[in-house]
């Protein structure tokens, strides 16, 4: 049937969902980020204890020692829900795809000097495993965390890390002409080369760390906060100019991603720290312990990437910058 309406008579009976209205101070128009996020996760009346963890409910705030009065106090400064996230990444991947196509056509990395190419294989390509580890840690937080505001951002981070692992893999393939031998060599290095063992050990330790927020902090603030500037800034700027330009083209996605995601990481840690002195204390303890261990683990990698002296000073600088960043978030460094 055809319906004629008198639009002037039509007023909405409410502006948004009640579960949203309760959190934004009443019934008023809400953003898509808010409607996609607030109170999405189940909160009560759970039926069965998990067969794999009967000491907890299916969703349980006790999976971290961080205490929040309201887990929806976390806000993603990017306002990412699935749609906003995906369309942003689709745009970025379009750019990245063009760069890779260009690099493939011109065989940009295939014609590098042997020593440079070899260095990239040893320092950059094994990072695909680091990224995959970061994927696992963020998936852990997405799975076991409380509240959509926090966990959806972890999901996005996890998928980003898979994507970055695959971009690094593509760089590896560009280096070896798509045969995959460079990826295999990089995996051997990740598994056996002394330069990588500290990083891998720390990563594997995070795989068995149970506290959700500790994993989030250790991976996304501390580990990334050291690895990204060390490799993607200091190392990539240190290699020869021509290769450096080619590489910068292929790692634009990665460096843009890091800058963008750091905003979320910082906001998240700051919100937890601002909540209470106890949280601040706990975050500071975790921060200090992980930072010290990770810096130690990265020393041989810094040497491999930049040589003994430059490596040490780069790592020292990176550590100092991270401390300054953490201090701004309320962490005692």
């Amino acid at each position: 049937m055809q319906v004629d309406i008198k639009t002037s008579d039509i007023r909405p009976i409410r502006q948004t969902f009640s579960q949203v209205a309760r959190r934004i101070g009443g019934d008023k128009p809400a953003s898509r980020y808010q409607e996609a996020t607030l109170n999405l996760q189940a909160e009560t009346n759970f039926h069965y204890r998990p067969l794999w963890q009967p000491e907890f409910e299916l969703y349980d705030k006790g999976r971290t020692a961080i205490v929040m009065a309201d887990w929806y106090a976390f806000k993603d400064p990017r306002h990412y829900y699935y749609g906003a996230y995906t369309t942003a990444r689709a745009r970025q991947q379009e750019g990245a795809d063009k760069q890779f196509e260009f690099a493939e056509k011109r065989n940009v990395l295939g014609s590098l000097e042997a020593a440079t190419a070899e260095s990239l294989r040893q320092v950059l390509v094994p990072l695909r495993h680091y990224e995959w580890g970061a994927n696992m840690n963020n998936t852990y937080c997405a799975a076991y965390g409380w509240g959509t505001a926090l966990t959806q951002a972890c999901t996005f981070a996890a998928m980003d890390r898979l994507g970055i692992a695959q971009y690094i893999s593509r760089i590896g393939l560009l280096l070896d002409g798509n045969v995959g031998s460079g990826l295999e060599a990089a995996k051997r290095e990740w598994l056996e080369d002394p330069a990588w063992q500290g990083v891998r050990r720390v990563m594997e330790n995070l795989f068995v760390t149970k506290d959700v927020f500790e994993v989030l902090l250790a991976q996304n603030l501390v580990f990334d906060g050291l690895v990204y500037p060390l490799v993607h800034r200091h190392y990539e700027q240190s290699i020869d100019l021509r290769a450096g330009q080619a590489l910068a083209m292929l790692t634009t996605f990665i460096s843009d991603w890091y800058d963008e995601t750091s905003r979320w990481v910082d906001a998240t840690v700051k919100t937890a720290a601002d909540e209470s002195a106890a949280n601040k204390e706990l975050l500071s303890q975790w921060y200090g312990a992980h930072r010290d261990e990770m810096v130690r683990a990265l020393e041989p990698l810094a040497t491999l990437a930049l040589g003994t002296d430059t490596g040490a000073s780069a790592l020292h600088q990176v550590r100092g910058e991270l401390d300054a960043r953490a201090a701004k978030l309320g962490i005692k460094v």
Binding site: R49, L51, W52, Q53, P54
Partner: protein, 120 residues
């Protein structure tokens, strides 16, 4: 069979133990072939309630809106407890009639076949 869990000893206390119902126990009540009432009912009742009081005071509030209800001849009603034929003593309590927490009590009313004979 028992559940297969990560660690041995996965267990739980039943959520519906009798002591959680404030002195009552649950009784399920179903009127066979009267499917206007979509399902049997669940009511909390004291164990000491006489069976006769259940029939006189509880059942009318539960089933009374059905057009057949007023015509029930209670002396001809056929009862079942957990599917087994059951002869209640109207003077005795529910407990003394053998009805326990979560007993399923059903009754048939021969000759009354629901709305327009459709078992509704």
């Amino acid at each position: 069979m028992a559940v297969i869990a990560l660690k041995p000893g996965y267990t739980a206390t039943p959520k519906d133990a009798e002591d959680k119902f404030h002195g009552n126990r649950l009784l399920y009540l179903g009127w066979d072939q009267h499917l206007l009432f979509c399902a049997p009912f669940c009511v909390p009742v004291p164990a000491a309630m006489p069976f006769g009081a259940l029939v006189k005071e509880v059942l009318p509030g539960v089933f009374g809106s059905h057009p057949d209800f007023a015509q029930i001849d209670w002396s001809k009603v056929e009862w079942k407890d957990s599917g087994k034929p059951f002869k209640p003593d109207f003077d005795k309590s529910l407990a003394d009639n053998g009805l326990v927490h979560k007993s399923a009590l059903r009754f048939r009313t021969p000759g009354l076949n629901g709305i327009a004979g459709s078992c509704s």
